[in-house]
């Protein structure tokens, strides 16, 4: 069924009389690779322990040089698990002076590995904002999404982060959580979910964080495979289609983002990386790209874009 729905996002934009164009880019998102210690069932990149694709030192240097040429308000390091990528310390240390907000996505368990303890000190030193995956306060649902035995190390790492000041009011160390629905249903309202997560984490484990971000699951990668296998694909896509909200278009992150993959190729967003739809429709390497994508140019779209425009959207 995936193919029959192909390009319907573009058709929907045309039918609504709207378009998706680039604005001034202010965020550089760097995907350091698909290697991960977990094999989450909602992962749009199908990252996991067996993946060999990680950013080389040479590509890191090219990314660092690009970030110096074009000062970004925010730099967002993601993966896979960035903690597992060799020379990640070099990337963090050299990007930190080039931005006001350096963010790193952590799954909490990779950071818990014995040889990664030094990274916590590095994050503190550079005031790296940590965005931690923590999709559910329910152990069964968390395990169903991220694998058995993930809850305990995740809680321990959150405790460790709180102990050094992350997520604690006034410390200047920001810890945000990210939650995805644990299945083929739409995400909840972000504000209400944040209140509930704060209440639940404090009540159950005396844990604290700054903000919660709720994202819809992308019909890509491992999640798309699961949707197909469980015969949820059509119903899920129907939900995304029927939830289309053109008011979300202005705030979509792809309008202000440059996304660089582990191999240095550029995309409009991390989801287009997973869908293999390059920036501007043709493969471009960061070493050949001097400035920022031009304002007003079209953004490459695919069927998965419905996940960013359903309901209140994905900004």
């Amino acid at each position: 069924m995936k193919d029959t729905l192909h390009n319907s996002f573009e058709l929907r934009l045309t039918r609504e009389g709207v378009s998706l164009k680039r604005d001034q880019a202010h965020t550089l998102q760097i995907n350091t690779g698909l290697l991960c210690d977990l094999k989450c069932r909602h992962c749009h990149l199908s990252a996991g322990p067996g993946r060999k694709e990680v950013m080389s030192l040479q590509t890191m240097e090219q990314v660092i040089a690009y970030a110096k040429r074009n000062r970004f308000a925010t730099i967002d390091i993601t993966g896979g698990a960035p903690e597992l990528v060799p020379h990640i310390e070099h990337l963090i240390g050299n990007l930190a002076p080039s931005t006001d907000r350096l963010m790193l996505r952590t799954n909490l368990t990779a950071l818990s590995q014995p040889d990664k303890t030094h990274l916590l000190e590095l994050f503190r030193e550079h005031r790296v904002i940590l965005i931690a995956s923590f999709p559910s306060t329910n152990e069964g649902q968390l395990a169903a999404q991220r694998g058995d035995g993930v809850m305990d190390p995740s809680l321990k790492m959150l405790q460790k982060l709180n102990d050094v000041g992350y997520g604690i009011e006034g410390s200047g160390l920001e810890l945000d959580l990210v939650a995805n629905p644990s299945g083929a249903f739409m995400p909840t309202d972000q504000e209400a979910a944040e209140r509930k997560f704060k209440h639940d984490l404090a009540r159950k484990w005396n844990l604290h964080f700054n903000s919660l971000f709720i994202f819809a699951n992308m019909p890509l990668g491992r999640f798309a495979d699961w949707l197909e296998q469980s015969e949820n694909f059509d119903a899920y896509m129907e939900k995304l289609h029927s939830g289309f909200n053109s008011c979300t278009l202005d705030g979509l992150m792809c309008r202000t983002l440059v996304s660089v993959a582990w191999d240095g190729n550029l995309y409009d967003c991390d989801f287009n990386q997973a869908a293999h739809i390059p920036l501007g429709g043709k493969p471009t390497h960061i070493s050949e790209f001097e400035g920022l994508p031009e304002r007003g140019t079209a953004i490459a779209v695919g069927e998965h874009c419905f996940a960013c425009t359903a309901g209140s959207g994905f900004t």
């Binding site: 629905p181 249903f185 909840t188 509930k196």
Partner: protein, 110 residues
Amino acid sequence: MSDYYEREDLKKFADIGKDAPELAHKFFDYYAAVFAEGELSAREKALIALGVAHAVQCPYCIEAYTTSCLEKGSNLGEMTEAVHVANAIRGGASLVHGVQMRKLAEKVSL
């Protein structure tokens, strides 16, 4: 009709207004007002609805409020506890009538 309950029938709920539109409007307006955010959050109301759906054993309501609870941020633990609350009240309501049984039996017994 192969079954009394067919999943697709829930989508036809609005058809109930075809021969009595005023009553249907009043009901659906009231329904929407009941489930709006109030002193109770929409999430809490969905959990109550899930419990009641099990008490009245309505398959349409069970599906609708399972999805609603998940999309409003309740987790499976909370949803399962809501079903137990419904079960406890249902079971308790039966059991407490045992007092009537005992009272009546005692009256006619030596």
